[in-house]
């Protein structure tokens, strides 16, 4: 079986080893005997019809402006994929742009893709450091954050988890990230997937379920190194 993974803006949104998330998805599919086809989407490209998993990372400010215009064009189709349950992971910059709007610190308003019911305002300071959160679906999740945007969730979505250490969405309400249908948005770099294999496997199993029409248990993998790296990360200073 071939699994098609859409990688959004790999050239412009490429900070913090977020590409490691692609590698985590790819390998954990391959190790289970699936074939993987990675599709890069750059500004100006057309979205393909057949997509099983969507991924997009964070970027520096100069990357973000190029992406905003293209995202406006593909937003309706992306929204359709996500409403239909396509498993999706967006990090930091794209997490913000998947929301309703981003108001910069200077007061300039950027229209979001309206896929996730969240809104972000630019903050005065950067929230930087190791993060540990507790999630109902995946247990403790580790990562690394570096953002100045403060994100608040709307009524239609729930947070990915509750902050144990770190700042999370906005440093105030203890929430981190968002989960809506099978779409996860988060500030966590690290990258998040290699050290949190439960999230990787969630995205994979949802993709296979959607493709085959039936939910089945994934083949077990030896996660000794993953879990040890997770444990070490969860104990490091901010």
């Amino acid at each position: 079986m071939i699994i098609n993974i859409l990688h959004l803006y790999p050239k412009n949104m490429n900070l913090y080893g977020d590409h490691g998330n692609m590698l985590a998805l790819k390998r954990r599919l391959e190790w289970r005997g699936y074939e993987v086809n990675v599709i890069h989407h750059d500004p100006g490209d057309e979205l393909p019809e057949d997509i099983d998993i969507i991924f997009g990372g964070g970027g520096q400010d100069s990357g973000q402006t190029v992406v905003e215009d293209d995202l406006k064009i593909i937003a309706p189709k992306l929204k359709e994929f996500i409403e239909n349950g396509t498993p999706t992971l967006v990090i930091c910059g794209l997490y913000q742009l998947f929301g309703n709007k981003f108001v910069t610190y200077e007061g300039h308003e950027i229209e979001g893709a309206h896929i996730l019911d969240i809104s972000t305002t630019g903050g005065e300071v950067r929230l930087i450091g190791n993060v540990l959160i507790d999630t109902p679906d995946f247990g403790e999740v580790v990562g690394y954050e570096n953002h100045s945007g403060l994100t608040y969730l709307g009524d239609g979505v729930k947070p990915l988890g509750t902050v144990i250490t770190g700042d999370g969405n906005n440093g105030k309400d203890k929430t981190e990230g968002v989960i809506y249908k099978n779409c996860i948005g988060t500030y966590l770099h690290g990258p998040i997937l290699p050290k949190n294999p439960k999230i990787t496997d969630f995205l994979i199993s949802k993709a296979i379920e959607k493709k085959t029409g039936k939910a089945e248990a994934l083949k077990e993998l030896d996660d000794t190194i993953e879990l040890k790296a997770h444990e070490v990360s969860s104990k490091r200073p901010r």
Binding site: Y16, G17, Q60, E226
Partner: protein, 411 residues
């Protein structure tokens, strides 16, 4: 005021040394009591002040520039204490200035971190700058890569004589200056140097349209050819690694600009041949049964270039990753390095040994052993097989390795 500052500074230096303290305190105190101290001392230097900055290669490049100029007969003041903050420069001055204020040097060649280089330019006038590269560092220190380029632009603007820029670095080549001069690579060598953006996404090789004062034309093993002001010179380098050879082109450009005498270019290249790497930049040590090369890797581009230079199946490899404050807390950058040229890593260690192991696992690279305890890891790695060995290490792990080795008195 100058003499009082020197007196107090030297006094604190003596006291803190007796107590086994670090080198930053005297600088810190003098900076407080006499903010114009650096300016007063350095502005008297007849040949001025040169600042070397950028993400990678500062220490070795500064060492090259200092040695090249010394060989030309200049008395060179440099901050080789490893503290590249303004206060580190002050501490280094205090060690070398007489109590009466006599500071017997012709020129200062200073290695400064990007952010501290800007602070330094505000504290003292600078004449020359050599800006090496802007690469993804541990991003938690400065925020973002474009911000770092802005910092270097400020340094370039502060230099009133020559500013030497790496034309092959997309962010550095854009920097403007009153008197810019460039160093670069021949088209043939350009393919061997991934730019920081290439690490993310392979892109077409772009040949710069900027004329270069110094070009590294050829590099084969230790043999390098440099073209300075249109004339070709050969060097047999002691320095290891293609990135050091390239930064040497920047060093040559800066020295040629300072000497401003074409007849000296040949002897500059001659001196370059004998310059050795700084500790952790390719130095070879004997540990237990093995010859071990220590290779400092602070960020993805340095790591990438190091792997490109040193991946070789006749060597055993060890990787040590720490995430202490000086290394940067964030270890995400390991995922921006392409490890595929390594077929096996025999030992993985450091505070973040498992993060490194995880990275290798997802690249399908064989891992020999994972041992978080560095001393045990070094011992296991160097005992038994006599095969030559290479250790890639982050900054604080490099210091720890040095301590372990000297503690075992096998250095």
């Amino acid at each position: 005021m100058l003499r009082i500052s020197i007196f107090i500074g030297k006094l604190i230096q003596k006291i803190s040394r007796l107590r086994g303290g670090g080198s930053a305190l005297p600088g810190l105190v003098v900076e407080r009591i006499n903010p114009s101290f650096v300016k007063k001392v350095l502005s008297k230097l007849p040949r001025g002040v040169a600042v070397i900055s950028g993400t990678n290669g500062k220490t070795t490049t500064t060492k090259i520039v200092a040695e090249l100029l010394e060989k030309q007969g200049l008395r060179v003041f440099t901050n080789n204490t490893g503290s590249n903050f303004v206060r580190g420069v002050i501490s280094a001055i205090l060690e070398n200035i007489s109590i009466s204020g006599k500071f017997d040097y012709d020129i200062a060649v200073l290695e400064l971190d990007e952010a501290h280089a800007v602070k330094f330019c505000q504290a003292a006038p600078i004449n020359y700058a050599l800006l090496l590269n802007v690469q993804r560092d541990q991003l938690d220190r400065f925020g973002e890569i474009d911000h770092t380029a802005d910092l270097l632009q400020k340094v370039a603007a502060a230099a009133d004589r020559d500013v030497i820029l790496n034309r092959e670095d997309p962010r550095v080549s854009k920097i403007t200056a009153k008197n810019p001069a460039y160093f670069g690579l021949s088209e043939e060598l350009l393919a061997q140097f991934p730019s920081d953006d290439d690490l993310i996404e392979s892109s077409e090789i772009k040949v710069s349209d900027k004329p270069a004062k110094v070009i590294m034309d050829k590099l084969s093993g230790s043999h390098a050819t440099y073209i300075i002001d249109g004339k070709s010179f050969d060097a047999d380098l002691t320095l290891k690694g293609i990135y050091n050879a390239f930064n040497a082109a920047g060093a040559l450009a800066l020295c040629a600009a300072i000497c401003d005498d074409e007849s000296k270019n040949e002897s500059l290249v001659q001196t370059l041949s004998s310059v050795e790497s700084a500790f952790g930049r390719g130095e070879v040590l004997k540990i237990n049964d093995s010859e071990v090369e220590i290779l400092l890797v602070k960020n993805p581009s340095a790591f990438q270039l190091s792997i490109a230079s040193f991946a070789d199946d006749s060597y055993d490899f060890m990787i040590v990753i720490n995430d202490n404050y000086a290394d940067g807390r964030d270890v995400s950058w390991l995922w921006n390095v392409d490890f595929s040229p390594l077929s096996k890593v025999s030992m993985v260690s450091g505070v973040r040994a498992y993060d490194m192991a995880l990275r290798l696992k997802y690249e399908n690279i064989e891992i020999g052993e994972i041992e978080e305890d560095l001393e045990k890891a070094i011992n296991d790695f160097t005992k038994g097989s006599k095969r030559p060995k290479r250790i890639f290490t982050t900054y604080t792990a490099m210091l720890a390795i040095r301590k372990i080795i000297s503690g075992k008195s096998i250095l």
